[in-house]
């Protein structure tokens, strides 16, 4: 069974890259353009993993992660956030909000797939 992934990013080009990389790796990809949209997509379906940007208009990634952790239906769903900051504080905030892991931008498609594989487990 192919794992299904929700990607949340306000940048069309990043959405495109992640979509290409992940669908080439055999995953099913659903896209959302910001935190609000992400929660709406979560409302409508189940995902095996969520990949989200933090810095987004409308609803940022941290808020979305906090909100989704309140939803019993999505307990334990891994959440990977994308960040350009190597800043430990941001990571700590995201972790406190309930994120599982992160990927530092810029990333190449392979490292994205690697991280997704890592977090999904075998």
């Amino acid at each position: 069974m192919t794992a299904s992934i929700l990607t949340v990013d306000d940048s069309a080009s990043i959405r495109l890259t992640t979509r290409v990389a992940l669908s080439n790796a055999g995953y099913t990809v659903t896209e959302a353009v910001d935190g609000k949209d992400g929660l709406a997509k979560l409302d409508a379906g189940q995902f095996d993993i969520i990949v989200t940007d933090l810095n987004m208009p409308n609803m940022d990634g941290l808020t979305m992660i906090r909100e989704l952790r309140k939803l019993p239906a999505h307990t334990g769903v891994p959440v990977i956030f994308l960040t350009t900051e190597s800043d430990a504080e941001i990571k700590q905030q995201a972790k406190a909000a309930g994120a599982t892991g992160w990927l530092t931008k810029p990333f190449d498609p392979e490292s994205l797939v690697k991280i997704v594989r890592k977090v999904l487990g075998r």
Binding site: D10, S11, A12, S13, I14, L16, T17, R19, V20, S23, V33, D34, K36, D37, I49, N55, P57, N58, M59, D60, L62, T63, R66, R69, T75, G76, V77, P78, V79, L82, T84, A88, E89, K91, Q92, Q93, K95, A96, A97, G98, A99, T100, G101, W102, K105, P106, F107, D108, K118, V119, L120, G121, R122
Partner: protein
């Protein structure tokens, strides 16, 4: 699965981001304390850097990084926003555009210079690189994860699997902390593990396994010397990563901008971005449909089959609606166009030392995208001209009793099938005497020729015409205005100039809303059929035999007490046929100039899908394109601008001849 070219997507996005950055910076320049704009600029820089690096625009990413860092400090309140800083980033923004357009070019020196000035504007701070760790072979690893790790998506089995991937592995789980079943929450984690790992991977590979949980977990990695032991003592701990108290770092509340920002973003999210060429394809198809539909109408009309007629009328209505919808799809607000002038005027004010304010109105007016793109250059010329020639210096203005700041206003409004774009300044106005003197000296007009104001102003659009006494960086090189005229002509638009000495001048561009389909008047000349753009048609009248006879040799008709030159299309096209007994005159105009076209028959209005002429016919002046008629024949579309100027020349020659 096929995807659009990511590089192209990135370029489009980068262009938008750069525009946002520029708009944000310009707003910031007006109000340095505007926190929202600082955030907007920062976010755009941030995204530009992130996606730039991802698509291999390394120079762009590296360069943008410094600007982002600077803005991050502003955002955090470490550095105040200053005009110097905003100016430096504005210049840097232009450089970023260059880095997007030509990523492989040699921009290093320019980058360095800009960064130096940025550093002068803010104190730059270097970021030290993190050193890498050494590697060994045998470890004892004890670890336990936070209780909520599983709820937050970490799978401990995955971590163990990853360690098994590193090498030979023995795992022992400590189950002592598991509570009685009735107190057990299935998503809580109570286990801890001891792992003995033999690996050729470096030490950092173990850290990589735990990278995401490192900060919240208990992890003890011990390098074991010699033979593997059954139960390793925690001696010689190479690294003990203690858990940090999650409560110590209070998460920042996710405060966001005001509700209006939310609404704007929501609106953007509902949009679908489509490459313009796909719209063009769709437009082509709609065009073909319109042609097929008019064939159907013709068939239905001649068959007398009532049912067929009913269907044909339905198809006609639907294709008309489809066409209208299609037009709307291609429309974009002129905001896009106007917003670039804020920067231009800002720069021009700096270069000329004048104080210039830009006022825009009617930004929501919508125009076909391809029209907008082609309007940019002529408008830049006109605005430059206004800033350079039109507006006076602050001292001159004060002396003339005007406010020190000059105003350039751009406005757009729709009027019928046209959009009127006006570029207005409150400067000194066009010096008619100088225009006349210049035109006479360069032989454009005869000395003492009697010209209306409008005719006089139109002279500034002649090639090689410039009244500037000094050539400046901005304008006055005599190129530009004729290019403006040519571009507007190509858009089938007209230019109207109004000027009041000492009060300023106003140049209006009237441009058709769309380029692809026009309403035309279908006429017959000899055996050929031609289309005249309906927007240019003023009236149709009959050329009486007397008038025809009287005007032989002198091609003028009198129209409500004014003489209008006319062109016999039958002569122009050399049809060699005998004229119809009752010839018609179609009076067409561009702005203030009129000319009559004598045709054999007026067939009626015709919705025309414009097909451009081949390259071979590029320089044919009389026609601007072609269209396919309902019966499959081709009709040429007359170039109104060209015919009118031809008619006017004819008039001028006659006047000169006396």
């Amino acid at each position: 699965m096929s995807f659009p070219d990511p590089i192209a997507v990135f370029r489009t996005e980068a262009a938008e981001l750069l525009e946002q950055i520029e708009a944000g910076l310009l707003d910031l320049n007006v109000n340095l304390g505007d926190k929202d704009q600082v955030d907007t600029v920062f976010r755009s820089l941030h995204t530009l850097k992130g996606s730039g690096a991802m698509f291999g625009f390394d120079a762009l990413a590296a360069f943008t990084h410094h600007c982002e860092t600077a803005f991050d400090r502003v955002r955090k309140g470490e550095v105040p926003a200053t005009h110097d800083l905003v100016g430096a980033v504005l210049e840097a923004k232009d450089h970023m555009r260059l880095l997007v357009d030509t990523p492989t070019g040699d921009h290093e020196a320019a980058s360095e210079a800009l960064l130096a000035s940025l550093r002068r504007a803010v104190d730059g701070a270097g970021v030290p690189e993190a050193p890498a760790g050494p590697s060994t072979t045998r470890y004892t690893i004890r670890f336990s994860l936070p209780q909520d790790a599983m709820a937050n998506g970490t799978n401990p089995l995955g971590l163990l699997d990853e360690m098994r991937d590193l090498g030979d592995c023995r795992v022992v789980a400590d189950r002592s902390a598991i509570p009685p079943l009735d107190q057990l929450n299935p998503v809580d984690l109570h286990l801890s593990w001891t792992v003995e790992l033999t690996t050729s991977e470096p030490r950092s590979a173990i850290d990589d396994v735990f990278i995401f949980v490192m900060d919240d977990m208990q992890l003890e990695v011990t390098e074991v010397q010699g033979e593997p032991q059954t139960s390793a003592a925690p001696a010689e701990a190479e690294a003990v990563v203690a858990a940090t108290d999650p409560a110590a770092t209070t998460p920042k509340p996710a405060a966001k901008g005001p509700a209006t920002v939310d609404a704007k973003a929501a609106k953007a999210a509902e949009n679908v971005r489509v490459p313009a060429e796909r719209l063009d394809e769709l437009m082509d198809r709609v065009g073909e449909l319109v042609i097929a539909q008019s064939r159907l109408s013709q068939l239905a009309g001649s068959s007398g089959d009532l049912q067929l007629r009913a269907v044909s009328e339905d198809v006609e209505r639907l294709s008309g609606e489809l066409r209208d919808t299609m037009m709307v799809l291609r429309m974009v607000p002129v905001t896009q166009l106007f917003s670039r002038f804020r920067r231009l005027v800002h720069d021009l004010a700096n270069e000329t030392g004048k104080v210039i304010e830009l006022v825009t109105e009617g930004e929501t007016t919508e125009v076909d995208k391809s029209v907008i793109e082609r309007l940019a250059d002529p408008m830049i010329h006109l605005v430059r001209n206004s800033c350079d020639h039109g507006l006076e210096t602050a001292e001159q203005r004060l002396a003339a009793g005007k406010p020190a700041a000059g105003t350039i206003s751009l406005s757009a409004r729709q009027q019928g099938g046209e959009v009127i774009i006006t570029i207005k300044d409150d400067g000194r106005g066009i010096d008619k005497d100088r225009v006349r003197a210049k035109a006479e000296s360069s032989g454009l007009i005869a000395a003492n020729a009697s010209l209306s104001d409008q005719e006089l102003y139109q002279l500034i659009f002649q090639p090689g015409f410039s009244t500037a006494q000094q050539v400046t960086n901005l304008s006055g090189r005599g190129v530009g205005m004729d290019v403006v005229k040519r571009t507007i002509d190509a858009l089938r638009g007209t230019i109207n100039v109004v000027s009041r000495p000492g009060q300023g001048s106003e140049i209006s561009l009237a441009i058709p809303l769309t380029l692809a389909i026009i309403d035309g008047l279908l006429v017959r000349v000899g055996s050929g059929r031609y289309v005249i753009p309906l927007a240019a048609v003023e009236e149709c009248l009959e050329l009486s035999v007397e008038e025809d006879m009287r005007s032989r040799g002198r091609s003028f008709i009198s129209l409500r007490d004014s003489l209008v030159p006319f062109i016999r299309l039958r002569d122009l096209f050399r049809t060699g046929t005998t004229p119809d007994p009752f010839q018609k005159v179609v009076v067409i105009s561009t702005g203030s100039e009129r000319v009559g076209l004598v045709v054999d028959q007026i067939i009626g209005d015709h919705q025309t899908v414009i097909k451009s002429m081949s390259k071979l016919h590029h320089d044919v002046g009389t026609f601007s394109g072609a269209t396919i008629l309902g019966d499959g024949n081709v009709a040429l579309i007359l170039d109104v601008g060209h015919l009118v100027s031809e008619g006017q020349q004819q008039e001028a020659q006659l006047r000169a001849a006396g």
